[in-house]
């Protein structure tokens, strides 16, 4: 059981790290939103799943309920986070922000 928990947490941490690096390293507004929106959702899913499994070490009604509540967090994050990303991209498009291209194509 612990191995599964550790694997899920490390998986989640890896994606959080990749998302953070992506936000720092990507060249422009739209491509920075890609790791911010996508990897965070997956990483949250993995981390909370790990915590929910860790919480189930004794299977009683109480721990099962708490694990279900944790999955509610995942549900709402995975509903809200892509929508927020979509909205920010939409706002960028409406404000007329050009997407990034390689410099030689631009010239």
């Amino acid at each position: 059981m612990n191995i599964i928990v550790i694997a899920l947490l490390v998986f989640g941490l890896f994606f959080f790290l990749a998302g953070a690096i992506g936000i720092m390293r990507m060249p422009d507004f739209y491509s920075r939103l890609h790791p911010a929106g996508k990897l965070d959702t997956l990483a949250t899913l993995a981390m909370v799943m790990g915590l929910a499994v860790y919480n189930l070490n004794q299977i009683t009604l109480g721990t099962i309920l708490i694990s279900l509540k944790m999955f509610l967090i995942v549900f709402f994050v995975s509903l809200a986070s892509p929508t927020a990303t979509h909205t920010i991209v939409d706002a960028g498009m409406r404000a007329g922000l050009r997407h990034w291209t390689k410099k030689k194509q631009r010239g």
Binding site: F76, L79, A80, T83, H86, T87, D90, R94
Partner: protein
Amino acid sequence: MRVIAFIIVCLTGALLLYGTTEFPDWGDPKSPASLHVSNYYIEKTYEDTHAPNFVTAVVTDYRGFDTMFETAVIFTAGLGCFLLLRDFREKKEHYYQHIPTGVILHLKDEKKSLPVGKEFGYMDKEWVPPDLINKTVCRILIPFIQIYALYVVAHGDYSPGGGFQGGVIFGSSLILLAISYDLKTLVKRIKERLLGIFAALGVLIYAGTGVLCLFMGGNFLDYGKLAPLLPGHSDHIRAYGMLVVEIGVGIAVMAVMTIIYINIVSEGRHDEGL
């Protein structure tokens, strides 16, 4: 110039870091903050009030006057926003949408207006169609946000939370409605008059609880004297009193948040905005 600014920032930062060396350690029992009344709160709060969360007990019972005037400050903020920004003048130009065809009409004569109903609808100058994804997701999320806000208000004396937080969450759910649809949807659902009444009602609930305690023979905000009015065991009466004033705070904060948002985004006209 930049170099001088950089040096000044570094010096100030070093000075602040130097200042922190004299702070007491984390959780130091001999630090000045934990010498006087903290011990009393930690040891006696449950005996005194039967509220498991003694932060709430300190905020709304031991220091109830402070929180009452904080609520009054929030009410004053909403009032100030209303008085400074609210603009009742008619607009010079009107935009209408002919609903069956979707054609947008622009009336430049300020005296003329079209009847708004089935045929014509209001239209904003900077109108953009609300995004379908946004609308759908917000329509799903808003009820859950509001339920969560009510939960936070209702559990203020049992778990972290309380009136201010719950009120802010509820207010932000209303603001989310205005952002995801448009401002008119929100103004149509919650009239300005109702928001004003709510903002005042919240403060009235708080202060009224205090006055009620006076009438029952105690001091102002002495919830223990309310025991004959409320059901349940009289030990828990102070926790109930806290719950009542938290509800008042929540209503006031919710209304004031929404008033401030509506007035700022529509420049006081309450017709169009974000």
